[in-house]
Symmetry: C2
Subunit: 189 residues, 2 copies
């Protein structure tokens, strides 16, 4: 739970002392900041697949999350799937909300702004004529995404500035708005 003592290093559940120490450590050795994140995936049947997230590289060593995270993805029945999990595109929307929210908590804490509530809804419009190959010039992905935040805390204006700074420093916002080069390698047999 967030702590509201003004001189506490813990604010919004963020240990700001450790946060600032981490920043200093990275300033001292930029190599610490080079991370490689990873997900593996195994096809089950039809549009159903299962992803696993566990290991990653960071701070100059191979590391692991506390738990092995397994996530099913599928298409709903209306899209000829078995609906055993969300669609892949919905995971992207979830990632965007979670990244902006983590940034909001960190930045608010660093600025000594107390948060009591951060909620969001992320919606993406997609015209499936694209992926179905039925629409000339219709893109495969989302045509646009809208994120609606509702925040409660110390000061409305400062909270809006925190959201703006989180946007400016969000990994997933950057990925989703600016794109990333993707290389695909295939071993088939």
């Amino acid at each position: 739970m967030p702590t509201f003592t003004d001189d506490s290093p813990i604010r919004n559940g963020v240990d700001t002392a450790t946060l600032f120490a981490t920043l200093d450590a990275v300033k001292g050795n930029n190599e610490i900041a080079k991370f490689k994140f990873r997900a593996s995936n195994k096809w089950i049947s039809g549009t159903h697949s299962q992803g696993t997230i566990h290991g990653f590289y960071g701070a100059m060593q191979e590391m692991e999350h506390n738990s092995v995270h397994i996530f099913d993805a599928d298409h709903p029945a209306v899209l000829v799937g078995t609906d055993t999990g969300p669609t892949p595109t919905e995971y992207v929307l979830h990632a965007l909300a979670a990244c902006l929210t983590a940034g909001i908590a960190n930045i608010a804490a660093a600025r000594k702004i107390n948060l009591t509530e951060v909620e969001s809804v992320v919606e993406g419009d997609i015209d499936l004529l694209g992926i179905l190959g039925l629409g000339e010039g219709v893109r495969n992905g989302f045509q646009g995404i809208k994120v609606s935040f509702k925040l409660k805390g110390d000061d409305a204006d400062k909270l809006r500035q925190v959201v703006e700074q989180s946007r400016a420093r969000s990994a997933v916002y950057d990925i989703v708005t600016n794109g990333v080069p993707v290389e695909i390698e295939v071993e088939a047999g």
Copy 2:
């Protein structure tokens, strides 16, 4: 499980009869193809938030997945989080693998190619100097993503062509490589 009878409409777990009927229905009425996917998110504490995926709009009506899907996201301890879930960026990698894999199963089925195995590992390189605000010109998101597929099935060359067609028709590949306009709305109080 995949069915290998050559005249069966079910191949790779994909009901191709329903798939082609769906394509025909969309050709008859393009409105059916307009979807709106959605994720909501609630901040818990620090970098930990919880996302929910349930309802979506499609085929001219509001719909719901069979289950309410809840996913925790967090930063690992090395990034000053409590590691209650994967990082937001890892969910993006998972989404990319799942989308390409669903496409592979559908396209292979449509082309009467039997699959026995589809596995992938997706890796994204990120230099956290970007999100930490310590690197002039270092982007916040992944600098590059590499997807490694291992497929088994009927014919190696045809399987490689299926992967290429899946890439060409993947919603998440398009989102991640080409970017999407994102609008952020804030209600603060």
